[in-house]
């Protein structure tokens, strides 16, 4: 899925504070199937941009097109459905549902996207958990998993619906080098196989070598790295 940003501006306006524009992107696009590393220091607006791309945060102005479709021209429930079917999002804090097992967490987007029946959903979730090395942790709750294991569940969840666009926010932030490599291998390989566009936001310089396309987010703008 290709991604196009046009005249994108996003401003945070908190009461009593001066309004702060964090994104000022005139024109930017990512080709379908591209794997892009989005770099930037903390607070540069990486997460904001990913949230906008995920359909969670309407930009103050501008257009976001995903697969030719203007994301924010769609009604909210359609954007919700896109997140369940087409856009996979790996949150920085993983954000797994604490009351559900690893397997049930992975099943979630499949339920909301209504793509598969119950048994097919479970089979797909099992397969994904097995592929991220959590064969013996299907029934574990997030609290019973390590940080690395939680991240792997989040990756499996993001890939569950075979999305055309995968967004990952600092996926390696809490991992050691070995685990970091394993997760990135899984993520990149899965997206490559599925032809999905991958955008990874990170300030980890070690990741740069893994991506052909690196962009820096500085002063609200995107600059090719």
């Amino acid at each position: 899925m290709d991604v196009v940003l046009q005249q994108l501006r996003h401003t945070y306006a908190a009461s009593g504070l001066e309004a702060r524009t964090v994104l000022m992107i005139d024109d930017w696009q990512a080709a379908s199937g591209a794997q892009i590393l989005l770099r930037g220091v903390s607070g540069s607006g990486k997460t904001t941009l990913l949230n906008i791309l995920a359909g969670l945060l309407p930009p103050t102005t501008g257009v976001v097109r995903c697969g030719g479709q203007s994301l924010y021209a769609l009604p909210e429930n359609e954007r919700d459905r896109l997140r369940a079917t087409t856009i996979g999002y790996i949150f920085q804090m993983h954000h797994l549902a604490p009351t559900l097992s690893a397997l049930e967490n992975v099943e979630m987007p499949l339920v909301f996207g209504r793509k598969l029946n119950a048994s097919a959903r479970t089979a797909r979730a099992r397969e994904l958990l097995d592929s991220v090395g959590l064969r013996d942790f299907h029934r574990h709750r997030p609290m019973q998993l390590s940080t690395g294991q939680r991240l792997r569940v989040a990756v499996a969840r993001a890939l569950a619906a075979q999305p055309a666009l995968v967004l990952a926010d600092e996926p390696t932030a809490a991992l050691d080098a070995e685990s970091s490599h394993a997760v990135m291998d899984l993520l990149q390989e899965s997206c490559r196989r599925a032809g999905a566009t991958l955008i990874v936001a990170s300030h980890d310089p070690a990741l740069a070598t893994r991506f052909d396309h690196v962009v820096d987010l500085r002063n609200g703008g995107l600059h090719e790295g």
Binding site: N51, A54, L57, Y89, M93, L96, T99, P109, F112
Partner: protein, 445 residues
Amino acid sequence: MYELKLAWRNLANRPVQTLVTLTVVALAVALAVTVIHLNEGLQRGIIRASDPFGVLVVGAKGSSQQLVLSTLLLQGLPVGNIDGHIYEELRNDPRVALAVPIAMGDNIGGARIVGTDEHFFDLRSSQQAAPAFQLAEGRIFEADFEAVLGSRAAAELGLRIGDQFRPAHGVEPGLEGDDHAEVHTVVGILRPSATPFDNAVFTTVNSVITMHAKAPAPVAAVAMDDHVEETDHAGMEVVGAAVDAETAHHDEEAHADGDHAHAIAGQVTAVLVAPVGFIEANQLWRDFYTGTEAQAVFPGRELGGLFDLLNQGQEILILVGYLAAVMAALTLFLAIYSATESRQHLLAILRGVGASRRTVMLVVLVETVLVAMIGALLGRLLGYAVAAAIAGEISRRSAIPVAIGWLPQVEPVLWLLPFMLGVLAGLLPAWQAYRVNVVEKLFPS
């Protein structure tokens, strides 16, 4: 339904809070279920227990309700006695198909002694129905001081055919201390009739009168003193199930003559009357209404009045039930509302992976409704259990068969009300869920 699964997991994640909420809801529902079923069971039991006893009850002037209760349900003390000639006149009245005398005044181990005649055993709820009181073994009494036992009386007293006993004075144990000298012999035992008469001992009217004629003064049942004024006003000399000393003396002479008819002409406590038709029933009722000697009452009408009283009591308890339901709804609301913060984070996660606003709102509503409905189910079980226990105790004490049964007419309300309470309690939290700001909750910085 995925929302149900999520709601269930949320509840299971807060076991103490959920348990407390469930308990409050269950208690509120149990209260309503107990009151409604007990009231209904009691009314049905009373109707069933009074079913076989003709259309009219004739007895002493006084409380008409007490007359029906004491005569048909063996509850409380008899209103008083009426002169035997009233029974004689009724027996010979062409408007009367059947007149059965009832004389009370004694007990044996708490089982009331009922003086009557063989026609009592021909009483039935309708012409087509079998007699309500049928022998399981033995025969009906043929002579004075022969006794037929109700099924429960036989079981509880441990008496069998051929056994002998001496009744105690007074319709209830402990009212008066003396045992009568007359020895009664058990000649028959009845099958269970599902009426309070299962705990009664039947003998001839003459047996009852003879015992009291020979009893030491004062022989009138103690509690009957309450009715002295009324019965005096009605022009009667004596009150209570037994005759007083003066009448006892009078009757003693009658017994000495061996004149059974004269003995009947003495006193009876009540007469069960089956008129030949509806018009005749009303005529008889009017005759007694305008007369001064006795009263005739329609049991159905009196029981209707009793039911009105029961229903008033029920209405008050139902009001209490509504208050309990409001409290339950508030508890439910509080439980769900207090968990809002942690739930909103979860709901934001759900939204983040594709759940719609409608879905997360449903999760909260399902959660409150789930608690309300599980509470309702537990409350129903508890309510049935309590109602059944109380019904059993009432049946044990009064022999009125109080059965707790299925009430299809109240079932929808008993389910719908908790459902509505669940929805009501969940509205505000659900609205908050609908409005949850995903970005704020997932990225608080």
